[in-house]
Amino acid sequence: MTGFTALLKKEIREIVRTKRLFILLGIFVLFGIMNPAIAKLTPNFIEFMSEDFAEQGIYIGTIKVTALDSWSQFVKNMPMGLIVLLIMFSGIYTSEYSKGTLIPFLTKGLSRDSVVLSKFLVMLMTWSIGIWLCFGITFFYSDFYWDNHVVKELVFAAFCWWLFGVFMISCIVFFSSFAGSGIQVMLGTGAVYFIMPIIGMYSKAKKYLPVSLTDSISLYKGELKPDDYFGAMIITALLSLLFVLTALPLTHRRQL
């Protein structure tokens, strides 16, 4: 256990000193501000373009922006945030394995489980701070300009996104236990990300796929209730747990 806390401190120091934390949080803050900003600017932008549209015979009436537009931007930007997270952390395990920086610690009796779990926890922390920071800023501005009450289940929808992010992080942990490089981890996790919607298109299991957690718009509009998401939530949580737990024995068998 002493090894785990020492390693956790090291991981936090690492993301602070390599500026990864700073950049990631900066981006989530930026997204947080941009979501309402884009929604706010849309009518002006369309007004600006409407002369061109009028020439083509398209007429646009006045558009009324509500908090829903701001939250739609939130949903659109979240995959971007996840991709940045994935790129930043894809090499978190493999670079240490290939450089051999962990070997002195392992020979001092550090367990490999501590290595896997401390890095997992740091990614989890970064992602949690990031998404809720972004959520908080968007929430504040949306309430400032419009009214958040027209949008339903805001916190629950964000929680679904958070859980989906946890699933992506578990994918990084899982692929890192046998992949040779950060690029391979990125490709593996990316493949999971893009294959899920494809499976969803052809199968009835769509409702239970982790990716269905990212459908926040239906929640916002009240078309779906939180109950409709519980199946996917449980599946996602179990899959994440399974990925992390399988990564432990795989890392033990890995040649370092």
Binding site: G3, K9, K10, Q255
Partner: protein, 299 residues
């Protein structure tokens, strides 16, 4: 009691047999030289001892505890210095060593004292910069400190001196000799003069086997004979000398008298001065590790 025992260690990579029955043991407070050519399997053996590599056969005991793959011996028994130690560039030496100490479960107060003591020993105590800017020699020294931090019973160094300049090499060897006070050191190398300088026991690794294993005195006893090497001013005189000392032979314009005793030496000198043969150089050759090494590997 032996700190390290390796018995009949075997390992192949694919069809290539790297280790084919390596056996040796290391007693307490001993500097052990592990000698072999590049690619002889030194690093493979060490990684197996550390539990970082799965051996195909054989047995390894560290401090009386059996080593198995994937779990390094507990209790901070082994310190390891890799051939090219890699650290975290964003930390400074004290931060890195604190991390090492915390991982091995050391007491905070003791750790602090130990770090400053060791950094002073290797001359890194004035270095406040981050490891990113360290030179190769500095990294090697920090690597030794890292390995010694929890006073291990066994220190394993993989080619600690191979990439260093003469001054750096001397520093590292001095540190290793000093560490002998409380630990046994195994270090692999192909630089034989380093071995002669600090080791008390050696093992030669050749063809995946331990070709020789014993103390430095054993080696000297094995090859106690000394040869005389004579270079003359005028090469034509060699024939005269050769006629008087038939057991000698001529090579490359030099005259070599093998297995020469003190008496042979005196006789040779008397002969030279009696015949008024001018000489350039007369040298006594001690049999050294290199001769034995070459003999062992059959070259």
């Amino acid at each position: 009691m032996n700190v390290l025992e390796v018995k009949e260690l075997k390992k192949s990579f694919g069809s290539k047999k790297v280790l084919d029955g390596v056996s040796f043991d290391v007693p307490e407070n001993c500097v052990f030289g592990f000698i072999g050519r590049n690619g002889a399997g030194k690093t493979t053996t060490m990684r197996a001892v550390l539990g970082l590599l799965k051996a195909d056969g054989g047995e390894i005991n560290v401090c009386g505890e059996k080593v198995s793959y994937g779990c390094t011996p507990k209790g901070g028994c082994i310190g390891f210095l890799p051939d090219v130690p890699e650290f975290y560039g964003y930390m400074n030496a004290v931060e890195y060593l604190t991390l090492c100490g915390e991982i091995s479960g050391m007491d905070r107060k003791k750790l602090k004292a130990r770090i400053s003591e060791l950094l002073e020993l290797v001359g890194l105590d004035k270095e406040k910069h981050r490891i990113k800017g360290y030179s190769r020699g500095m990294k090697q020294r920090l690597g030794i400190v890292q390995a010694l931090i929890n006073r291990p019973k066994l220190l394993i160094c993989d080619e600690p001196t191979s990439a260093l300049d003469p001054v750096g090499r001397k520093d590292i060897l001095d540190i290793i000799s000093a560490a002998k006070e409380y630990t046994s050191v195994v270090f692999s190398t192909h630089i034989l003069s380093d071995v002669e300088r600090v080791c008390s026991k050696v093992a030669f690794l050749e063809g995946g086997k331990t070709a020789f294993f014993g103390s430095l005195e054993d080696i000297r006893a094995l090859r106690s004979d000394t040869a005389l090497e004579l270079t003359l001013v005028c090469p034509n005189d060699i024939e005269k000398v050769a006629a008087a000392f038939p057991e000698g032979k001529e090579t490359d314009g030099r005259f070599i008298l093998p297995k020469a005793s003190e008496k042979d030496c005196a006789e040779l000198m008397a002969f030279l001065s009696a015949k008024m043969i001018p000489i350039k150089r007369l040298e006594r050759h001690e049999a050294d590790l290199e001769d034995l090494f070459l003999e062992v590997i059959g070259k």
